[in-house]
């Protein structure tokens, strides 16, 4: 219940942001929302189903390229282009899944990097698609009908809307049979298979849904930045960032990627502002140092850390209750004390862990 109160409060803040900030801060807020959205999309397959993809930039880039090419070459409305990009990415995810899902763990992760690299090489060499030079999104038709604006606030609303849509999809998945299947595949693949879950099929469903939403995020990026090239929408660094957002916030949790995106984007932007001017990579060093610290010391992410913090507090409360009981027992009969003490100690420890 407390979580929902928090979510509602966060939503109210999000609704108030455009009224409260200037253009540059609003741009940062848009970056946070967009990073959160792809993190949430990644989380479907990487978090819930536990298939760590480090090649999601392939879907993101595909979304960006499909909607932009449709617009530039055929004058197709971006709203349709976005949908087309999502569907084509979902289609590509079939090949992606077919080639990678028979692999596990590290092998899967490395294969996904290879697939995404191949997609990047393809777009770097494909002359019709702009090759290494990239593509510009024309600005001659503006307004909501053409998803193209001269100011920032509409992009903020688009990014927020898309994030909410992706969150809603995740929320639904989390509660439906799909969510149970995904978690079963992640935690107990053998048990899942033995009760008749078609593992390959549900992994593929997770990947396709994830690819669909990731691609829409890519299309939105193209509409906002008005320029794409293989490096900006297809790089391995981008794939890694999508996973990182989810990991930082908490893998396999609904709001983890949102928290992760807010923290990671802020860190990135602030280190860039304060240390980036030197051109010597100080921002990169701080960014990398944080990644290491989080990966080593907080593998469950910020949400996991908060939860364990709450549990520790509950355990402490429990322990003090037990101490009170212990004191009573001591008053009643001193001989029982040693036994109750010995019994209480391990149980407290168990809860703390």
């Amino acid at each position: 219940m407390k979580n929902y109160a928090f979510a509602v409060a966060a939503l109210l803040v999000a609704l108030a942001v455009p009224a409260l900030t200037d253009a540059s801060h609003l741009n940062m807020a848009i970056l946070v929302l967009m990073a959160a959205q792809v993190g949430v999309a990644w989380n479907i397959v990487g978090g819930y189903a536990g298939q760590v993809s480090l090649g999601h930039a392939a879907f993101y880039g595909l979304g960006a390229y499909v909607s932009t090419l449709l617009l530039v070459k055929f004058g197709v409305n971006p709203w349709l282009g976005v949908l087309g990009g999502g569907l084509i990415a979902a289609l590509l995810s079939l090949a992606f899944g077919w080639s990678c899902f028979r692999l596990k763990g590290h092998y899967f992760a490395m294969a996904t990097i290879a697939v995404a690299e191949l997609v990047q090489i393809f777009f770097t060499e494909w002359d019709y698609g702009g090759a290494a030079v990239g593509l510009y999104v024309p600005m001659d038709k503006q307004g909501w009908l053409w998803m193209n604006f001269a100011t920032k606030p509409p992009y903020y609303w688009l990014a927020l809307g898309l994030l909410l849509l992706t969150l809603a999809a995740n929320w639904w998945i989390e509660r439906s049979y799909l969510g149970y299947y995904f978690r079963a595949i992640k935690d107990e693949p053998d048990a899942a298979r033995s009760v008749g879950i078609n593992i390959a099929r549900y992994k593929q469903i997770a990947l396709s849904v994830s690819a669909f939403f990731t691609a829409i995020g890519g299309s939105l990026y193209a509409q906002k930045e008005l320029y794409i090239d293989p490096n900006s929408v297809l790089s391995t660094a981008l794939s890694i960032k999508m996973a990182l957002v989810a990991i930082l916030g908490g893998v396999g949790t609904l709001f983890g990627p949102v928290v992760g995106a807010a923290v990671l984007t802020s860190i990135e932007e602030f280190t860039r502002i304060f240390f980036g001017g030197t051109g010597r990579g100080t921002d990169v060093i701080i960014y990398a140092g944080l990644i290491i610290v989080i990966a080593v010391f907080y593998p469950t992410g910020i949400i996991g850390w908060l939860r364990s913090f709450r549990e520790r507090r509950a355990a402490r409360a429990d322990a003090s209750r037990q101490t009170a009981a212990h004191a009573e027992a001591q008053a009643a009969a001193t001989t029982v004390t040693a036994v109750s003490h010995a019994a209480a100690a391990p149980s407290v420890k168990g809860e703390a862990a």
Binding site: H106, Y107, R280, T282, I292, V296
Partner: protein, 288 residues
Amino acid sequence: MTADILLQTLASGVLIGLIYALVAIGLTMIFGVMDIVNFAHGEFLMLGMYSSFWLFALYALDPMVTLPLTVLMLFAFGVLLYKLVIVRIINAPMLSQIFTTFGIMILLRGVAQFLWKPDFRSIENSAVSGSVKLLGIQLGKPQLVAGVGAIVVTGLIYFFLNKTRLGAALEATASDKEAARLMGIDSHKMFSLAWGIGAACAGAAGVLLATFFPIFPDVGANFILLAFVVVNLGGFGSVSGAFWAGILVGVIEVMGGLLLGPQYKTAIVLVLFLAVLMFRPQGLMGKA
């Protein structure tokens, strides 16, 4: 004429493949012993390159002379990295392991950029330069020396693993951690040894490359993916597999570049990588 070009290409493929093999041997050793994929492996190579560059630029010491020194430094660095960071993630979930070594990768690149600027540097006029004609093939001396050096280092590693007690202990840990521990082998010592040797191999490859390859902070990116491919082809954890697979990847890359254009040489290697992952996940030379 065509035969000449083919032969020439084949030879240069083998030579660069030997370097890939050396990088991959370090990677496969770390993976074999402790099941961790080291994304920062290319950065060990980068450090090796910079070490030989600075020793050359500041003290006019030739890379070939400073090779042992650089290898020792990288060995120490690998051990240190293990003791400071990696030891904490031995039993962590795979995601944390990936992102720890990934973070180290970006960190080392950032530090290199901070200390030495992002400029491309190169070692001019080292002791080995120019080219020789061997059996009608024109070969660059630096490449030739690098290839021979890679064979020597690989040979030393092979000797160490197969003929020394310490090497046997390392192999034992790789094949069965628990059994090795019960035999009185300290796994932590073996893990740090694997990181030391792994880093030293990549560092040696960096030194050998430094005489003919540009030196810059992100140079590791050119090698890490290829090293993954080589490690997979050779079978994870197999040193001799990585050696032959490295040569194979070098040849395929260079031949593919000749036939389809140099921009597709990485693509060809990646397709091969995926094909092998799918149909022979144990590697070309691994046992089923």
